[in-house]
Amino acid sequence: MVIYPELVPLLPLLLSGIALPLTAILRIDEKLKRNIACIVACIAHAIAMILLFLPTGLVWVTQKEVIVRSFIKGSILSTLYVDSISTFFMLIFFLVGLIVSIYSWRGLEPGIRAELYYALICLLTTGMTVLCMVGDFISFFAAWELLSISIYALVCSKRDDVLAMEAAFKYMMLSCIAAILMIYGLSILYGYTGHFDFIGLQRALSASIPYTVHLALALLIITFCFKAAIVPFHTWAPDVYQASIDPITALLSGATTKAGVYGIMRLLSISRLSPELILSLGVLSVATMTIGNLSAILQRDIKRLLAYSSISHMGFVIMGFATLNPLGLAAALFHSLNHAIMKPLAFLSLGNMRLIAGDTTEEKLRGIGRRMPVTTMCLMVSLLSLMGIPGLNGFVSKFMLILAAFHAGLVWLAIAGIVNSAIAVAYYIRVMQIVLRGTSGAAKAEVPMSLLLPVIALAVMCLVLGIIPAPVISWALSASELALMGKP
């Protein structure tokens, strides 16, 4: 029997995803069961992360070479394809999964079956990791559906909540249509090239390709844009973000939208997208930023406001793809990582405030800053970073994105980015004003340490990446040069 060292980071996650539901039959105390589930999930994510960064880990191996393996001899299905793009996204997924697992220990509302909840989180991370590792589109589709199914179930994890049920149902219906478009795209791609695997497709698509294949690529991009909540396909996002519980909102905006970004990145690396498609990505980016920002201004519920701001930030990420130069792609990757740190930070600190204030509407949150100094501090770090204040990580990647747009000669795109950054400041300042001004009169009421710890860790990461971004940028640059290799 052959053991593939690349698959080892996957094992703890997959095993805990399978084993945790089995603890439901144990006749032990609910609280003990919850603790066990939380510890298992946290350890699984931590092990996966450590294995990724070991001296023999995938991060360092993929810097030198691209790992390609086939599990079934002679078959091009079920292949493994790991490069530095994959490891970059795996870092994002493990990081968000770990933070959310730690937060959910105390942050989970009563009435949610903890063992099933954690099993689903582990399966979600497994699905996203497999998505990054596979080398053909059929396994890719299977992993895509694994992560989608886990997230549908997680969205309605509060079983009796009507809003969550409704949001999950909507999300599921729309997501299924997107998946169908993906199968159509894959069929056309297979019909014209005879390949599902990335290497074969790369070879087949490097020559001039017929116009029908561009249609297939467009269909795939639509599917990925749907997952990433890009504007014409964003309608599910605010509802789902608002209705699901806070850790799951953090997971959705931090990790699963990045699965769509990974898809677009992979498509860029294996094919030469036509100039029209690239231009339409730019147009979608401008539309996403503008509509996300303008809708955010109108919101009265802070969580929904942050959901719209999350959409506008995904527009910034897509902007990097539209530039199609190494700097732009690196900036898109870096902004994905930053978004995966800033947005969970914002949603989790908001979750802490919800525990004290009862809700996240404007009225309830007025003056909460005096009562919860640490949480408010972390929320401020996140908002300043989302705004793009120099010294925090959001600034570095936004600056890179706008610079890349100028380099690519897309002045309109760069100007749209700058204008939208300015619009965004308006509603972030409003959130700060709501939280900081006024006195609620009540005594200090900070949440327990286990809820503060993940939030503080994310805030520290924001600061560290803002001051020393160089290692991550060089990693992202190597990944983006790999993606653009052999293209004009």
């Binding site: 299905l77 199914i149 909507k170 199968i183 056309i188 297979y190 599902f196 209705a243």
Partner: protein, 104 residues
């Protein structure tokens, strides 16, 4: 063995997609919505099948891909039915027009 021409498959597949989409938009019943989604899935599979049947280089990859896709879709439909069951238990109705509480 003779097959119908490729165009027949392609047209049937697109017809299934359109019928499914139309049903999804027009019908307000949750079970019918699921059936519409399933019809669309079948349309997509049919297109892949016809491409495999008429491949320039005969290959088993397409067939194995179809089997994988069908099994994955079965899982998706099962989860969907579970969710509809959950909605039904709450509302005692399958009318999707009731799901209107989240509006901005």
């Amino acid at each position: 063995m003779m097959h119908a021409p490729f165009a027949t498959f392609a047209i049937t597949s697109s017809a299934l997609l359109i019928v499914g989409f139309w049903a999804l938009i027009v019908k307000r019943d949750a079970i019918r919505a699921i059936m519409a989604i399933e019809i669309m899935f079948h349309g997509a599979n049919l297109l892949l099948m016809s491409f495999t049947l008429y491949a320039v280089v005969p290959d088993v990859t397409g067939w194995s891909a179809i089997i994988v896709l069908i099994s994955v879709e079965a899982c998706v439909i099962a989860v969907m039915l579970a969710m509809v069951f959950n909605v039904f238990r709450r509302y005692r109705s399958l009318d999707t027009a009731l799901l209107r509480r989240l509006r901005w």
